[in-house]
């Protein structure tokens, strides 16, 4: 079977769950081969969990400057690995970084790029959700190497322990005129909450939350349900909540089991980021608000009355067990 290259998402110590999802999907197309890009020693630390999830080879692309430059080291590593093993496909996580790496690789190799995939079958046909969830498209690469970016959370990762061989990829020195250097980093402050795009429950607040203080009730409900917090663009623009939590057309696309919209009107651009959620609950005091028409459970009422009661009720049920 041909190799299928998987770019490993990691923080230097741990492999990100989305990588295990990629390895699981990669098995449908060939032998999963992991590509680890990092500072020296990283691949050795990550090898065991990668092998446990089915990586038959771990390609180590290591250099001291690997985490100092944006995207370029990952693109070069994948390009080297492609030339070495002639894979059937390359899979990356459809994160902001992953999409950019996938695109650059496809551009360099004249390959076929499929982004925002939510599934890939054994013939290489990818299912994509486009136009904010208004279409489901199935597409395949007809020319060149398939480079596919798969949305995190698209499948359940499966363990499949194998012996992983290790190979080194010699990264060339980074061309400083062609790469942006990362001079400082500030990690996202998600706290104990799950990542927005991967959470099974998302509680979002809109302009109706009426202030940064008002978002406390949104956070409390999210915490009661073990969910992530989201926000509408109007709430972000008003400074109630940080931009990285924006859900919608120009924010994140989420598809949780449960989406709760508090004080959000339901503009088409907001719906574009959440209408593929399994169950939608909306609380809005305006009976005409469009969000109520797409909700599985719509409450016409004041969010500051409904949400605190809901938090209480959840706590009571939890205790009753």
């Amino acid at each position: 079977m041909p190799d299928v290259l998987v770019l490993v998402d990691h923080d230097g110590e741990r492999v990100h769950k989305s990588t295990y999802e990629l390895l699981t999907v990669a098995r449908r197309l060939g032998d999963p081969a992991a590509v680890v890009v990092g500072t020296p020693g990283t691949a050795a630390r990550l090898r065991e969990p990668l092998a446990r999830h089915g990586a038959t080879t771990v390609h180590a692309a290591e250099s001291t400057e690997a985490d100092e430059f944006l995207a370029t080291p990952a693109v070069e590593a994948l390009e080297l690995a492609v030339r070495e093993v002639s894979p059937a496909a390359v899979l990356v996580s459809a994160t902001t970084d992953g999409n950019e790496v996938a695109g650059r690789l496809a551009a360099r190799l004249d390959g076929g790029l499929l982004t925002d995939a939510v599934d890939v079958d054994s013939s290489g046909v990818a299912t994509q959700v486009v136009f904010g969830g208004s279409y489901t498209v199935r597409a395949q690469v007809t020319h060149g190497l398939p480079v596919i970016a798969l949305r995190p959370g698209s499948c359940e990762p499966e363990e499949r322990p194998v012996e992983a061989g290790e190979r080194e990829l010699a990264l060339p020195p980074v061309d400083r005129a062609a790469s942006a250097r990362i001079t400082a980093r500030r990690a996202a402050l998600a706290g104990d909450r799950p990542e927005l795009t991967e959470a099974t429950v998302v509680v979002s607040g809109g302009r109706g939350v009426a202030g940064a203080d008002g978002f406390k009730v949104v956070e409390q409900l999210a915490d009661a349900l073990g969910g992530a917090v989201g926000a509408s663009r109007a709430a972000v623009d008003a400074g109630y909540y940080p931009h990285q939590y924006q859900v919608g057309q120009t924010g994140k696309s989420v598809s949780p089991q449960l989406y709760i919209a508090l004080g959000i009107s339901g503009a088409i651009q907001h719906l574009a980021g959440m209408q593929t959620s399994k169950t939608i609950v909306a609380v809005n005091k305006d009976p005409e608000a469009p969000i109520l028409d797409v909700a599985d459970y719509a409450v016409v009422g004041d969010l500051f009355a409904v949400a605190p009661r809901l938090i209480q009720e959840v706590a009571v049920r939890r205790e009753a067990g």
């Binding site: 902001t96 496809a106 076929g112 498209v137 199935r138 005129a177 996202a188 574009a272 719509a298 409450v299």
Partner: protein
């Protein structure tokens, strides 16, 4: 300084967007086409630099005949001249072809110091195109910037993604894509709109951008859509009006759905 702004005309997100039955590409006949809002912010950034340090601003757009409206809007905001890449063979172009074509257009312009773009279009492609154009041009990518400074031949940007924030630094020439947090774009003035009508716009096709490429083998896309199915509209479900018991009723519903 010479700044190039890459812009795209897209279907208005406020309206319904459909894919054509024939080839699964965007149905432009039925769509209300507008300059993608994020491009106004990229333009605003270019114009701010123009006012601060002096610059020539060229707007580049790839698209059918109607894309001229998007170019004129950017000219009305204050850009100096336009380049319109218009060729029927680009219909249904994939991200790779789009990036190659845009890169070829930038190469054709002289002494470009900075390429600006929106971080992601509202009609697809997952925000990869700016990074791809940068790669093809051999420029550093400073993408998803919510803050930008250009000084002494270097560019610095604050990148914001789901991973958090990063400060990026690179020498010029470079490519920067901006997020919707970067600024509030200006409205074109009446004077600007009048002036835009007289600003030069060059139209080029693939033969101009890729001289010598044989026209039989032009590859617009490397992917094929097997099928495209509109997702069924969501139907309204249960609706209650809060009389003080909504919290309790709602938790009952969530338990019944096994969501709590």
């Amino acid at each position: 300084m010479h700044i190039v702004v890459l812009v795209k005309q897209v279907p208005d997100t406020a309206a319904e967007r459909t894919l054509s039955e024939a080839d699964h590409t965007l149905d432009r006949e039925t769509a209300d086409l507008v300059l993608d809002e994020i491009n106004e912010r990229a333009t605003e950034e270019a114009l701010t630099l123009k006012e601060a340090v002096g610059a020539e601003v060229t707007v580049v757009s790839m698209g059918p005949g109607t894309a001229i409206d998007a170019i004129r809007k950017v000219l009305a905001m204050g850009a100096d001249r336009g380049l319109h890449i218009c060729d029927d063979r680009l219909h249904g172009a994939d991200a790779v072809t789009t990036a190659k074509t845009l890169a070829a257009a930038v190469r054709r312009l002289e002494d470009v110091d900075l390429v600006l773009a929106g971080n992601t279009t509202t009609d697809g492609q997952a925000g990869a195109v700016p990074a791809m154009v940068a790669d093809l041009l051999g420029l550093p990518q400073l993408t998803h910037a919510r803050e930008l400074t250009v000084d002494a031949g270097r560019v610095r940007a604050e990148r914001e993604t789901e991973n958090g924030e990063a400060t990026l630094d690179a020498p010029l020439p470079a490519l920067v894509s901006v997020t919707e947090k970067i600024n509030e774009p200006r409205y074109p003035s009446f004077k600007g709109i009048m002036a835009a009508k007289k600003k030069p716009v060059e139209t080029v096709d693939l033969d101009d951008l890729f001289p010598g490429v044989d026209d039989t083998g032009f590859l617009a896309t490397r992917t094929h859509v097997v099928d495209a199915v509109p997702r069924p509209a969501r139907a309204a479900g249960i609706r209650i009006t809060d009389d003080g018991s909504a919290g309790r009723q709602l938790v009952g519903y969530l338990i019944a759905q096994k969501l709590v």
